[in-house]
């Protein structure tokens, strides 16, 4: 084989691998990206039930109720709120009035079943999505969540 031919083959091979990877990536992205909704957006857009999504906001004061291993609480952006049910151990930094992100899906009654409630390493940390959602609802200013 001439060097030119060889380089051609190498190129074809690399492109082949890249195409397969690109196809994998695109289908996977299509099926698996998880959109983030604030409680207001959730009320407005009403995503299809059983679609995996993320919600975020503040844990509403006085809304946390525990029954056995099941926890019910409300996530609010101070305009709208959504009921969440979660089975399992909550992360250590889960507190009423603090920012929270939950991943799961809505059921047909509009209750959000969380499969995961995200923990943070740092208690002053406000997830960017939550900060944005709160800012959009106009009830929260930069810095006010830090104390």
């Amino acid at each position: 084989m001439t060097p030119k031919r060889k380089r051609l083959w190498l190129l074809v091979g690399s492109l082949g691998v890249l195409c397969v990877a690109a196809a994998l990536v695109l289908t996977a992205l299509n099926d698996n990206i998880v959109f983030f909704y604030s409680p207001s957006q959730l009320a407005e857009k009403k995503p299809a039930p059983d679609r995996r999504l993320r919600i975020g906001g503040l844990v509403e004061q006085g809304s946390v109720k525990k029954e056995g291993t099941e926890v019910r609480f409300k996530v609010t952006d101070l305009k709208q709120s959504v009921s969440v049910v979660y089975r399992g151990i909550l992360p250590d930094l889960f507190r009423e009035g603090r920012g929270v992100i939950a991943e799961g899906s809505l059921d047909s009654n509009g209750v959000f079943t969380a499969r995961e409630v995200l923990a943070k390493h740092d208690e002053n940390y406000m997830p960017p999505e939550v900060a944005k959602a709160l800012k959009e609802s106009g009830r929260w200013q930069e810095g006010s969540g830090k104390k």
């Binding site: 690399s14 691998v17 990877a21 289908t27 099926d31 089975r87 250590d92 740092d122 997830p127």
Partner: protein, 653 residues
């Protein structure tokens, strides 16, 4: 007084780094021996100064000097000494100082061990290394000064984030940084080679040990981080495809590719410009990782409070390093003439396939990690890309890599035959297929994909060991050179990791249950009974400890004691899991909130083969170190590789 000395030392280090980053370059361009020699002295001086600064900060932590803002924010007088020490790098400023320290130590190591490098190459490598140092020292001094004072000094500090008060995490950052920063040396060598316009066998022989060392440390750092997440987060998982985890995985993948392509440059004088490009990319990905972690642009379980100014600085630095490197590459790389010719089916061909697949893996991880940022910028939509995406893209490509991995070592340089290699591997193939079928039938009929992955794990182990055995038999039982021994160890270890990861992910058993004292539950063949929950007083926390008696059919088996610790200074609760392991499986318990009346929530996991994940990763790094001890790669070995020097093995401590 001492903190000020530390700060002066940092400022002086910046000045020295500026000199080291410029004059030797001029010297190398003009052929001025004195200017070139300056690089060596400057590198040692810079390292000394940064060591001084680091020692000053350490002193402030150990003596709990609360007039230093950083100590106030991250330490407390009641903290155990080991966490006072690890507190030095358990925060933003300190961890950046650690980065600068390791960077300057690597620079000094090049200066010390590089005495027989060509003068101009050494001068250039040290200069590039210093320019990176300038970036980090300026970053420290201008945006994140660790020595800032507070007046009046508070009586006590706020304490270290309790999640970080853990032996696993105390050593995670230094190891990870040794890996990240180690790639700066390879980067410096690549840029120096581009400036020289020459990449030869000697260059590759120089670059490979540094890459190998960085890679070993990065492997250990990632493994330690994953182990920490496994036992402290209480979720029973070992890898969450979190942006911060991905940030360390990308340079690892690129570094692994670099490790393999440098072999081709060394042995066959080919793939030169590709190797140089990979060296630039590996370090760029390390910096990207730092940027992602330090800027907080991505939501992550690891994300710490963000600071836009710092993020912008690192982003700018990242653009300069990557952009500058790539621009220089585009300009000078065409001059790098490729050497040895080879057929597609050959050792070179196999290593190219390895590089292709590893880079594709790195690219998919990069895409999945940055896609949310990209979409946010373009459309404003907030999305996250989670494990399903990575499982759907990463796993198939990794399988292709695993399939090819065992064949590569059978192929000779320049040209080889595929069929004979496959024939010699037939036993390994048979064993793997049987293992996959047994797993599919015996354990779980539905998890075909997991069974297939398990088969690949077995294939990696048996294939690598078989090749090793056949080579031993051929060479009349003489041990092969350490570089190839290291390869066998690392490849086998990869199979061990795959086994552990697949078994844990696919066949773990989980139970979440509320226990009142006296309650029991049957779980994975054991009886678990909550005997009592007792209060515990730790050095800087109070805790409640659950006593879970575990018994099997043969009577009492063990006791699990998960805790919930309340750190009194920060008023934060942390769950401390309890794990009973016998290498073949982990029995894992985490304690949730509760009280005697309502009962405590307890989360139980049975994780088959989980310990193999970290055992395999440690073995992988060991393979790297064994390979590093090969005399051909020994730092300071003369060009002809016939060096008689014994001893010094690792380029950096």
């Amino acid at each position: 007084m001492i903190p000020e000395l530390g700060q002066y030392a940092l400022i002086l280090a910046l000045a020295v780094a500026l000199v080291q980053g410029t004059l030797p370059l001029v010297g190398a361009a003009r052929g001025d021996v004195r200017l070139m020699a300056l690089g060596r002295t400057a590198a040692l001086t810079q390292a000394l100064l940064v060591i001084l600064a680091f020692a000053a900060l350490t002193q402030a932590y150990v003596t709990s000097d609360f007039s230093v803002a950083n100590v106030v924010a991250n330490s407390h007088s009641a903290k155990p000494l080991i966490y006072k020490l690890s507190g030095v790098w358990g925060n933003h400023e300190g961890s950046m100082l650690l980065w600068a320290l390791i960077l300057s130590l690597f620079g000094a190591a090049v200066a010390i061990f590089g005495t027989n490098l060509p003068d101009s190459l050494r001068a250039r490598v040290l200069a590039i290394q210093a320019l990176i140092g300038v970036g980090f020292l300026a970053f420290l001094l201008f945006t994140s000064n660790p020595f800032e004072r507070v007046f009046p000094a508070p009586p006590d500090g706020n304490g270290l984030n309790p999640l970080l008060q853990d032996p696993g995490l105390a050593f995670h950052p230094p190891l990870l940084y040794l890996g990240y920063v180690g790639f700066s040396v390879t980067y410096a060598f690549a840029i120096a080679a581009l400036l020289e316009g020459r990449v030869d066998v000697a260059w590759a022989r120089w670059v490979r040990p540094w890459t190998l060392a960085a890679w070993c440390f990065l492997t250990l750092g990632i493994a330690l981080g994953s182990w920490w997440a496994y036992y402290i987060l209480g979720w029973g998982g070992f890898w969450f495809w979190d942006p911060v985890e991905n940030a360390s995985l990308m340079p690892w993948l690129a570094g692994t590719a670099l490790l393999h392509s440098a072999i081709v440059v060394e042995k066959r004088d080919a793939l030169k410009s590709w190797t140089v490009l990979l060296a630039v990319l590996a370090f760029s990905l390390s910096l990207l990782g730092t940027f992602l972690v330090r800027s907080g642009v991505l939501t992550s379980v690891h994300a710490f409070a963000q600071d836009p100014a710092r993020g912008m600085f690192i982003l700018g630095f990242l653009l300069a390093v990557t952009g500058g490197g790539l621009a220089l590459y585009a300009w000078r790389a065409p001059q790098l003439q490729g050497g040895g010719l080879f057929q597609p089916i050959s050792r070179e061909g196999a290593l190219i396939l390895n590089n292709l697949l590893l880079c594709t893996l790195a690219a998919t991880v990069l895409l999945g990690t940055l896609y949310p940022l990209f979409l946010d910028l373009v459309t404003g939509a907030k999305v996250s890309v989670g494990p399903p995406f990575f499982n759907a893209t990463f796993v198939p490509i990794a399988m292709a890599l695993f399939a090819a991995l065992c064949v590569g070592p059978y192929l000779g340089w320049k040209r080889a035959e595929l069929l004979p290699a496959l024939v010699r591997l037939r036993a390994a193939f048979a064993v793997s297929v049987i293992a996959a079928i047994v797993a599919a039938v015996a354990i779980d009929g539905r998890a075909t994909l997991a069974a297939l992955c398990l088969g690949f794990g077995v294939w990696l182990i048996t294939g690598s060991l078989l090749e090793f055995y056949q080579r031993l038999a051929r060479t009349h039982w003489r041990l092969p050179p350490r570089a190839s021994l290291g390869m066998t160890i690392a490849h086998t270890a990869l199979g061990v990791v795959v086994l552990g990861a697949v078994a844990t992910a696919a066949w773990h058993v989980e139970l979440i249950k509320t226990f009142k004292p006296g309650d029991s539950a049957s779980f994975a063949g054991f009886q678990i009974k909550l005997q009592e929950v007792v209060p515990i007083n730790g050095p800087n926390y109070v805790a409640e400890r659950a006593i879970l008696a575990v018994s099997s059919d043969n009577g009492p088996y063990t006791t699990l004691t998960p805790e919930r610790r309340l750190f009194t200074v920060q008023k934060r609760q942390i769950a401390e899991t309890s794990i009973h392991t016998n290498i073949l499986r982990d029995l894992y318990a985490a304690l949730g909130e509760g009280d005697a009346e309502k009962g405590w929530t307890v989360r139980l996991y049975y994780n088959p083969l989980a310990p193999l994940i970290w055992l395999g990763a440690a073995l992988c790094a060991l393979g790297g170190f064994v390979s590093l001890s090969d005399r051909r790669l020994r730092i300071g070995a003369p060009r002809g590789s016939k060096g008689r020097s014994r001893g010094a093995v690792q380029p950096a401590e």
